[in-house]
């Protein structure tokens, strides 16, 4: 066998590959079908959002940060608003907190449904994609009800929400929440015990919990590897400490366990949504009562001089935020989202930085795939659930 060629081959995967979830480029070095090394290249979707944020007023930043991680836009805006409200020292009324919890969990469901659909499709179960996108369509319609926008509603604002929930919203959400568990059963019937799925995912892309800590991986990836760290439990925000839910864990840290964790998380999200729905009174506050931040109601604007002036000031100059910095983490669908916000005391942010869980996952990609087969690369990328908009920002 001395004359068999043993040199490795370099293969370029992406940035236009359909399984790289956007524009992730991987330079793979292969020995036969075994991956010897991988060098990920990112930045194709870098649009300088953090620089743009510094030119905008505080409230104008929200549509920008929503476009970072475009599968979980309202996790981004929630992280940003919580940080700014921390500097402002604002406390939200209970109804606003419950609505935010509801929106955050619906957003997690929406993101996990896309993850499930694309992950299943990439491994060969195209039906999964069609089914999951059917349910996600309902969620997008719900978001459209809220903000008039399907993807980026900009509904969560600094100081509360944009406006009250529309008539019929609670009923529509309830209908969806009643429908989803049965549909999740349907997905699981298709996939969870499917022998092809088990062969493709079990023991593939294994990572240990200690490595997760060192590489900055949180969320479903770390919990599938035996961790129990969930920001909603460890550092509760918007009243998550008052909700009953389980932090889902698994122990093997492979692609299959990450699948199981995310599927179970969706059921937990449904539980949280139902609890939040029960707390949302039909009428009540949809923003805090801080006159500096929240525009006065329209009937006052039309009848009172002070309200008109305040309305004009908020919409022309914006509000100022005291000098300081804050970082409030939230549990996004992909792990710890968080926005590090620095204010210099003016009406524009001095610095906005979003911690991206996807960036960490891309960075640690070699921990998952080196030594595995090239076909497993697809399964691993799908199970990490990277969103390049959030990675590149």
């Amino acid at each position: 066998m001395a004359d068999v060629r043993t040199e490795t081959m370099t293969v370029n995967m992406g940035p236009q590959h359909p399984s790289t979830h956007g524009v992730l480029r991987l330079v793979l070095e292969l020995d036969g079908e075994t991956v010897v090394s991988v060098s990920p290249t990112i930045g194709f979707l870098h649009t300088g959002i953090e620089k743009t944020c510094e030119q905008k007023k505080w409230q104008q930043v929200i549509p920008l940060v929503e476009r970072m991680d475009y599968l979980a836009p309202q996790s981004n805006s929630l992280a940003f608003c919580l940080s700014v409200e921390k500097i402002l020292g604002l406390e939200m009324p209970e109804r606003v907190q419950a609505l935010r919890v509801l929106i955050a969990e619906l957003q997690r469901l929406s993101s996990h449904l896309v993850w499930f659909g694309t992950h299943a499709m990439e491994i060969g179960a195209i039906t999964g994609m069609l089914y999951a996108f059917r349910e996600r369509e309902i969620l997008l319609n719900l978001f459209e009800l809220l903000g008039g926008f399907r993807f980026f509603p900009s509904y969560i604002r600094v100081g509360g929400l944009r406006e009250d929930i529309p008539r019929g919203f609670k009923e529509a959400v309830k209908e969806f929440l009643d429908r989803l568990p049965g549909k999740l059963d349907e997905y699981e019937t298709l996939i969870t015990q499917n022998p092809i799925w088990l062969d493709r995912t079990r023991g593939v892309g294994v990572i240990s919990y200690a490595d997760c800590c060192k590489w900055g991986l949180y969320g479903p990836i770390a919990r599938a590897a035996g961790g129990d760290f969930d920001v909603r439990r460890a550092f509760p925000y918007t009243g998550y400490d008052t909700y009953e839910f389980d932090v889902i864990g698994a122990s093997n840290g492979d692609v299959y366990d990450r699948y199981l964790v995310r599927m179970a998380e969706m059921r937990e999200s449904v539980k949280i949504c139902n609890q939040a729905l029960d707390r949302i009174a039909p009428v009540g506050a949809w923003a805090c009562d801080d006159k500096r931040i929240v525009p006065p109601p329209k009937d006052q604007v039309y009848t009172e001089m002070e309200a008109l002036i305040q309305h004009f000031l908020i919409y022309s100059q914006g509000f100022t935020v005291p000098a300081g910095d804050a970082y409030v983490p939230v549990e996004g669908p992909r792990g710890e989202h968080g926005c590090y916000v620095v204010s210099d005391g003016t009406n524009r942010p001095w610095r906005v930085h979003m911690r991206s869980p996807g960036l960490m996952a891309c960075q640690a990609l070699h921990k998952f795939i080196v030594g595995g087969m090239i076909a497993d690369v697809i399964a691993v990328i799908g199970s990490l659930d990277v969103v390049m908009g959030g990675v590149d920002r």
Binding site: G43, A326, D344, R355
Partner: protein, 186 residues
């Protein structure tokens, strides 16, 4: 655990380091400590010790305070203790001519965030194995998140084909098109 408690716990492990607790809006959850650059690595190692257990890496970023402050940069580190459910924020104040020790020997996950900070702020990390630009193209000039970097800098795109028409031809095309569009149909 407040910043003062953490500093007291760190003091025996890192002799000679002059820490300073800093105020911040979220210091109830995340105590903030100013760390001298030369003691950063030892501090992060000591923070993993018993009683502190900040074993999980969260983030590295930077803030530019130009021109109001000298040294102009804050390099900001977030560490987490999943076990104790605690966080800490470390800040290192430097100028662009000072190299910050890279955190990669302690937390390999700091590699890409440090590359991002190098790319967008121009802060060099000493001991980083692969300090290249991360977001911007390799041939980019300047560091966009610096405050003295102009926002609307016009720069010829180098990655794409040049325009096939001159400016005069382009304007003539627009004018001709406008004529067609504004001429009423007979």
């Amino acid at each position: 655990m407040t910043a003062a408690d953490i500093i007291a716990a760190l003091a025996p492990a890192v002799p000679g380091a002059a820490y300073e607790p800093l105020a911040s809006a979220d210091s109830d959850v995340t105590p903030v400590i100013l760390v001298p650059a030369e003691h950063l690595i030892a501090t992060c190692q000591a923070l993993q010790g018993p009683g502190l257990e900040y074993v999980a890496f969260s983030d590295v970023t930077a803030v530019d305070f130009h021109p109001a402050r000298d040294p102009r940069f804050d390099v900001v580190y977030h560490l987490v203790s999943p076990h104790r459910r605690a966080r800490v924020r470390l800040k290192v104040r430097v100028n662009a001519d000072v190299e910050v020790p890279s955190l990669t020997p302690v937390f390999p996950g700091a590699g890409w965030p440090e590359r991002e900070v190098y790319d967008l702020f121009g802060i060099v990390f000493d001991g980083h194995q692969d300090l290249r630009r991360l977001m911007m193209p390799d041939d980019w000039e300047g560091h966009p998140l610096r405050k003295d970097y102009p926002v609307q800098l016009r720069k010829d795109a180098q990655t794409y084909m040049p325009l096939q028409v001159t400016e005069e031809e382009f304007r003539a095309n627009v004018e001709r098109d406008r004529h067609v569009r504004t001429t009423p149909k007979p």
